[in-house]
């Protein structure tokens, strides 16, 4: 009983991830799978999903710069506590040196997704997708004046 109390007071500043097995069927389109620690991650995805009746080779190109979604700034988080200069101190105590997972099964990891078994410090991921459908009018309207 005494030993149990002593072990609960221990602090392990760095925890280790123990994973028995990882089974991933698909990690596509800039998805990342990492076993180990990582300092900083900046994942970015921008896509125009254009559905057309005409072939892309004859219908012309599409440009990211035409749409404000691709260059609008990130939304701002209003934090009056932080703005007033108050400091938030984070104390983290790890009672166990390990995080244990038996088995991880992932069917698909999509665009700019991150699968990480290990410690990370700073992760920023940004995904911007514009969806457009373009198809011809079935009954063309007569020109004005007719």
């Amino acid at each position: 009983m005494m030993a149990a109390n002593e072990s609960s007071d221990l602090n392990f500043p760095i925890r280790t991830a123990n994973v028995g097995a990882i089974c991933i069927i698909s990690a596509a389109k800039s998805a990342s799978v990492q076993l180990g620690d990582r300092g900083e991650t900046k994942a970015k995805l921008r896509a125009i999903a254009l559905q057309r009746q005409e072939d892309h080779t004859t219908a012309g190109d599409v440009f990211f710069e035409s749409y404000p979604i691709f260059y609008r700034p990130f939304p701002v988080l209003n934090d009056p506590v932080d703005d007033n200069g108050a400091v938030i101190q984070l104390d983290r105590v790890n009672g166990s040196p390990n995080i244990t997972v038996g088995c991880i099964r992932v069917t698909a990891a999509g665009s700019a997704a991150s699968i990480l078994a290990g410690n990370g410090m700073h992760l920023t991921a940004d995904s911007r997708i514009k969806h457009i459908r373009q198809y011809p009018r079935l009954h063309p309207t007569p020109p004005a004046g007719c």
Binding site: V106, L123, S127
Partner: protein, 77 residues
């Protein structure tokens, strides 16, 4: 001063099954300090263009755009 104290006890998970991890998402087994995930998906009603299948015009300053190798300078810019 705000003191935020976190005590992590033993963490043991048997199995994780995921169908999909979508765009700008994360699955992590471990500790982290700072996570920011942004996702913008735009499908407004006006994104449906019904009409003649004319090519989309280039943006105004298309010739100055970086990373758009298909932009040519002779398309009116």
């Amino acid at each position: 001063m705000i003191v935020f104290k976190v005590i992590n006890h033993a963490l043991s998970v048997g199995q994780i099954e995921l169908l999909g991890i979508s765009s700008a998402s994360m699955l992590q087994v471990g500790d982290t300090d700072h996570v920011s995930l942004y996702s913008m998906f735009d499908t407004p009603p006006e994104s449906v263009i019904v009409g003649p299948l004319a090519p989309f015009p280039s943006p105004d300053n298309a010739g100055d755009m970086l990373g758009e190798s298909t932009v040519s300078d002779d398309d009116g810019s």
